[in-house]
Amino acid sequence: MTEFTVADLKDIMLKAADGTAPALDGDFLDTPFPELEFDSLAVLEIATLLQQNYHLVIPDEAVAELTSPRVVLDYVTARLRESE
């Protein structure tokens, strides 16, 4: 099965920030996106990159509920399990 790890998530988030996101240096998983300097457009870009890299279809309603990195991690993990 395809794994989705914290490192994978961090890679995606960095891609959405042109490789520089100082807020990802420490514990970031449970911090809401706005506090990590990821605005709603950046979260949409994260969803776009996830769709490209993991061949998922993420509906707009689901994107609206992706409020922190932990939520994204759990969401993607669950969706990948479903598709096994």
């Binding site: 920030a17 520089t20 457009l41 870009e45 769709q51």
Partner: protein, 426 residues
Amino acid sequence: MTGAVVTGLGVASPNGVGTEEYWRATLEGRSGIRPIRLFDAAPYPVRLAGEVDFDAEAYIPGKFRAQTDQMTQLAMAATVMAFADAGLDPAGMPAFEMGVTVANSSGGIMFGQRELQQLWSQGPTYVSAYMSVAWFYASTAGQLSIRHGMKGPALVLASEQAGGLDAVGHARRQIRCGTPLMVTGGSDASLAPVGLAFQIATGMLSTRRDPSRAYLPFDRDANGYLPGNGGAILVLEDADAAEARGVPGVYGEIAGYAATFDPPLDDGEPGPDTAAYDPPRGSGRSPRLRRAAELALADAGVAPGDIDVVFADAWGLPALDWEEARAITELFGPRGVPVTAPKTMTGRLYAGAALDLVTALLSIRDGVIPPTLNVTEPAPGTDLDLVLREPRRRTVRHALVLARGLGGFNSAIVVSAPTTHARSST
């Protein structure tokens, strides 16, 4: 009414990133015109342009880099410089007392082309979410407002090359309406394959391969212009507010501004024969460019004899050069005022023409007029006192800056020496 004074400058230009780097290069006659390197220009008839060597990471956080085209990044870098130069930290300022009016004409064309290629080659899933904002003309105004927490008026003006002046004229109006600080100027980055193709279609670009013989405004060998990427940002403040905060120095005042608009000619398609920058030939009406200059002088309350230098629009096409030369000589008399076009070292920057305002303010500060590069033999009938080859020492109290935009835009600004807190040369 108190004046609108310029208290900070920022420059990202093909011949220098940073105000002093740009100014040194300009006085020394160092050009930023080179063969295009941003993409393979071999299939195109135009091979030369002014590109900006520019480290976006030095000025712009990752979040904003990812969301923006170079046209926005050039303005963001220049804004960081301009705030530092003005001795201001926007984070410590009241959000609604700062606004932004910038000009843009190219849109985020490099970003847009990349994403459209993704769309057609791989499908909609492969288009960045950032495409939704990055291509847009207003992106620069919006991102500057977001980054620096400026919640006053935020606006973009799109009037091609004239926009670089129109934005500053509009920012002055916002100051008069009660916003004490405006970030203003303009930037463009038109150099992508599709952007170059659009420009070539006007028939106005030089196709020469020799950087020293391509863009030659007012020369008898004028054969078109070269485009450049770049931007310039000015911090404009209400003079009393600047004084009250203890401003470190003032470059000058935006003393007069006016814009005029030409009627359409012929079929309205762009090009050297059809773009009207004065009324139709033979119509007998007063030329619009001259009218813009006259109105700007009147707005500043100065006479032609008070103007110490004219920074010309300098389109680089014989008919348009002749029309501008005529407007200048009608206003100032034959060889009546020094005229210069330092944009011969950068190419025409479109909205980045705000750079000419920066250059005029530096001329005021240092008492020197930068040269027009590469022009050797002024065209017959252009009876101008062109500053050629070498900079010219001269006390500059008032400078007139002219700009025209494809489609009939004419704009003029008078910048005047500060009455107090004048900047000294660094």
